[in-house]
Symmetry: C2
Subunit: 337 residues, 2 copies
């Protein structure tokens, strides 16, 4: 089983794999693509026997589990970073802290189509993906040893996707990730100082100035954040305060799906179908309450390489002002769909 | 002038460039190399007129500034992220904080040779580079508006190097980077709990177990840290406590140069001359004192791509256990030099 190890100075947790990847197993940054075809792709319809048994699927009436007839499937990750079996052991080794890599790592196959990505889906298909996110979080949080459930998507090889067929990933962790702890601390401090939610304040200021808005509808706003780390970084933030993604109601999911499709389409048109990552930041599983957080989604296109400066400092140089990025994205000529 | 902008939630500073890079100016992750030759390379001997005027150079007796005859040159970065001219203005814009991008951004041309990298230098040449680091920090810290001086190196295009000719960079910042603040907080907490330096404790435990040691000499140790974020990540740490790199004496610089050469040579042999970044973490310029920090160098080979998981969480999955990485590095067959 993998190990979780804590850096003793900055308290950052790292998953260290059981079986170490050796020097010759690294591809040394080759830009080679993934050449799988619908015939060989385990995520394609008809190849259900090439994947582990499905955990969840949205399927046509009458179709059978682990067989064709689905719109979306969730399966355990074959190369899981964390495993659901076994106890959660916490150990000290001298001054170092570690625990067993207990958790879960799942793959959400978003579509039966090999060559489509989220920007090409119908609103209806994106809704299905969002419902699957919600279902998996609600199911995994039943295990009280799970502290955080992380949903993310890597699109394109530059963004770390090892499979070309569109998918999201779910990782259930026995710890709360450092970034989320930092954001919750920021929320708490602002709450103490102002008795308001800092993300709600950001939404209000962004709506007032408008200069960093990419898309907006009744329930959501897509902005290029004021202190964007990366060119064309975007945040999708609910306009009505909520700490927890799983509180979403049907009418909100409809609006979120519509916003996501437009935002990803703009990104695709403006940035030449570049790779990107997105991550859902929601409340920790076993704690919180409405005051503790404001859920949101962060989208990061893969345009710049991280250099020593960024690694060494947690300090970023962004070559594109977010106001300009928002303008480029707003002005994108979308295909009529 | 560039702007420094602060994320209001997590207090992370970002430099946003003056002139925004537009979508068509990104190379969308092409793996194309830098094809400059010694004839066209502005960092090569004889091309001194293609660079800004030198700030510092180590030269042969009788050679003239901005002419051939040097072993090492320091010049202002032509594409500087921060500029030394102008006032340091701090402004609020609603709830957002920004300041003018005042600071400095310099390039240390480490060698006159176009095709050599640090692993190929003599110990003597690495010493020159280390003296240049020290000289530039001491000079830049005279400006009391400078809060932190960051020295780093990007080797190879995958690590973000835009020039093939070996060089390091110096950035002088009007703020202390987030990572350094976090490390100083970790040092402070440990000092309060144990009245010892946490990095000294790490050095003692690593020396005792030996399993993560790559190189060791009288004054320094090179380890793969217990909670390595990346495969083959290494830290070079002084064995005798010191908060500030500029306190190094000549006999220590000799030993550090020798350790660095061996460590980079091992990395080059084991990882097929892969790209890497290193960063010097030393005390902030205008504060500190011996108890506040323990300077060190972090080396990060560019083997894995950062994916959504890491960006979104500050939580890392490392496929190679640091104990295994240390073993591979120790067992490397070095060319006899």
């Amino acid at each position: 089983m993998a190990q979780l190890r804590k850096d003793p100075v900055v308290n950052r947790w790292v998953v260290v794999s059981t079986r170490s990847q050796t020097p010759r197993e690294f591809d040394f940054g080759s830009a080679e693509g993934n050449h799988s075809t619908p015939e060989t792709c385990p995520f394609c319809q008809g190849n259900e026997d090439k994947t582990p048994t499905e955990i969840l699927a949205f399927r046509k009436e009458g179709s059978q589990a682990n067989n064709p007839g689905w719109w979306l499937r969730v399966i355990p990750n074959k190369f899981a970073a964390l495993q659901p079996q076994g106890d959660l052991n916490r150990v000290g080794r001298g001054m170092f802290d570690l625990m067993s890599g207990r958790g879960a790592h799942e793959v959400i196959i978003e579509t039966p189509h090999h060559d489509k990505d989220m920007a090409d889906y119908s609103n209806d298909q994106i809704e299905k993906v969002l419902w699957a996110y919600r279902d998996r979080i609600l199911d995994l949080k039943k295990d009280e040893r799970i502290k955080y459930i992380l949903i993310f998507k890597n699109h394109g090889r530059q963004a770390g996707a090892s499979m070309a067929h569109a998918h999201s990933q779910v990782i259930a962790l026995p710890i709360i990730p450092k970034r989320v702890i930092e954001e919750m601390a920021g929320v708490k401090l602002h709450r103490e100082l102002k008795d308001r939610c800092i993300y709600c304040d950001i939404v209000r200021q962004e709506v007032a100035t408008g200069e960093r808005i990419v898309e907006e509808n009744r329930f959501f706003i897509a902005i290029t954040p004021f202190a964007s780390r990366f060119p064309f970084e975007m945040w999708l933030v609910p306009k009505i305060h909520d700490n927890d993604f799983t509180n979403l109601r049907k009418e909100q999911i409809l609006e979120l799906a519509s916003l996501m499709r437009l935002v990803l389409l703009r990104l695709k048109v403006v940035l030449n179908d570049c790779s990107y990552n997105f991550v859902l930041h929601t409340s920790p599983s076993q704690s919180g309450g409405q005051d503790s957080y404001h859920w949101h989604i962060e989208i990061i296109p893969t345009l710049t390489r991280m250099a020593g400066f960024e690694w060494g400092t947690g300090f970023y140089i962004n070559p594109t002002a977010p106001e300009d990025a928002a303008l480029f994205l707003r002005q994108a000529k979308l295909p009529s769909v």
